[in-house]
Amino acid sequence: MRGPALSSLALSAAEEGGFQPPTISETHLPDILPWMAPWGTGFGKNMLMVILAVVLITWLFSFAIRKQALVPSRGQYLAESAYGFVRNTMGRDILGDKHFRPWIPLLFTVFFFVLFNNLFGAIPGLQMPTFSHAGPAYALAGIIWITWIVLGFKLHGAKFMKLMTVPSGVPKPLLLILTPLEFLSNFIIRPLTHSLRLMAVMLAGHIIVMLAGSGAEFLIAQQEGIANAGLGVAVLIGSIPLYFLELIMMVLQAFVFALLTAIYIQGSIEADAH
């Protein structure tokens, strides 16, 4: 009947006279290289945005700190505040004074990579958060998951497995239940929740934007009558607070993702402390 949602909403609405809500498939835009190829076969917008984020973050921070002035300019001050936020709030406060220094670059990269890619969803023209697709979210959570495990085994050897799965101070019979649960929760569920939390929030936000847009378009352009048009305008106005809510979610998810990264690494460093 319908191809994977590539036909336009307006067309189907006009044909059938009903409102067609946006679908997940519609977040999968055709690829850029080769031009208009089906999603997943070539180089797509999502990948372009990843590269854009890398270039933007590199350029912005390198440019801001290029002078290393003792009395910073406004730009340098802003960049230093952002760096200091990651360094102190996520690094020092969670990893502790003794361990946080080597992890600053990782936390910085995680936070700003996620933040910039999220904010692309709020920029007209791009209007799609990179992490509303599962692939990038899995990739990032996977990298952190591997870092966490490698670090744990490096610091504690094979004992790390025991530290992560056998809770201390629990009666022996209970361990029969708790150990598999702990294994499941730490090694399987943790990376999934880490990635899906980000992906789901970004996807939901993206779909809300699409829904508001297509709904308003449908009410104003496709339906007869002043009442429908008024309702469409109301939807557009209502989508403005939603946009700002979405902006908050984007920043918050980047913060949560980086914060969890810091907490996991802290869990590895001090695995024997609890």
Binding site: G18, L70, E80, G84, P105
Partner: protein
């Protein structure tokens, strides 16, 4: 109409299979992973060291400034103490010099007074001796001259009657002795 809309929507939703949002596009995952690693390397090599260094520079500059200020303060205090010491020293020195000068002055004055007194005494004595000598000379000269003159005068007045030398010299001696006596009484009275 509203009911119709809802039912068509429901039908549409079940009519075809939508994409599963949990199924990743492996290429997107790969690009995101590579992008992340590239950015991580850039941050490790360039961005983080620069920010840390900038932070370190600032810490050093501020601490250096504080140290410098403390050094300058200590230096100023040392200078002040030295200056005050010098001031006290020079005050003591000045008062010492004043005392010495006063003592020396007093000594000079007393010496000068003594000297002047001695000189005065000496001059007075000399003058007295001179006067005495002059007076004696004058008296001697007067004695002889007055005697001669008086004798001549008397001889002229009295004439030959007085040519007898013995008699005349007796008269003159008596006269002079009277004169001396008179003078002595006058001197005693004075």
């Amino acid at each position: 109409m509203g009911e119709h809309m809802i039912s068509t929507t429901l039908i549409r939703a079940t009519e075809y299979e939508d994409a599963n949002p949990l199924v990743p596009n492996p290429w997107e995952a790969a690009v995101a992973a590579i992008g992340f690693i590239v950015l991580f390397i850039i941050v490790v090599k360039v961005i983080a060291p620069r920010f840390e260094q900038s932070y370190q520079n600032r810490v050093e500059a501020i601490e250096g400034g504080i140290n410098q200020a403390e050094e300058a303060k200590a230096e100023a205090e040392a200078l002040k103490a030295e200056y005050e010491k010098q001031l006290a020293d020079s005050r003591a020195e000045a008062s010492k010099i004043r005392e010495e000068a006063r003592a020396e002055g007093a000594q000079l004055v007393s010496e000068a007074q003594e000297k002047a007194a001695a000189e005065g005494a000496r001059i007075r004595e000399q003058a007295q001796a001179q006067i005495e000598a002059d007076r004696a000379a004058a008296a001697a000269s007067l004695k002889s001259e007055v005697g001669t003159l008086a004798t001549q005068l008397a001889s002229k007045i009295v004439g030959e009657a007085l040519e007898d030398d013995a008699r005349s010299s007796r008269v003159v001696d008596r006269f002079l002795a009277d004169l001396d006596a008179e003078q002595q009484t006058q001197g005693a009275a004075q």
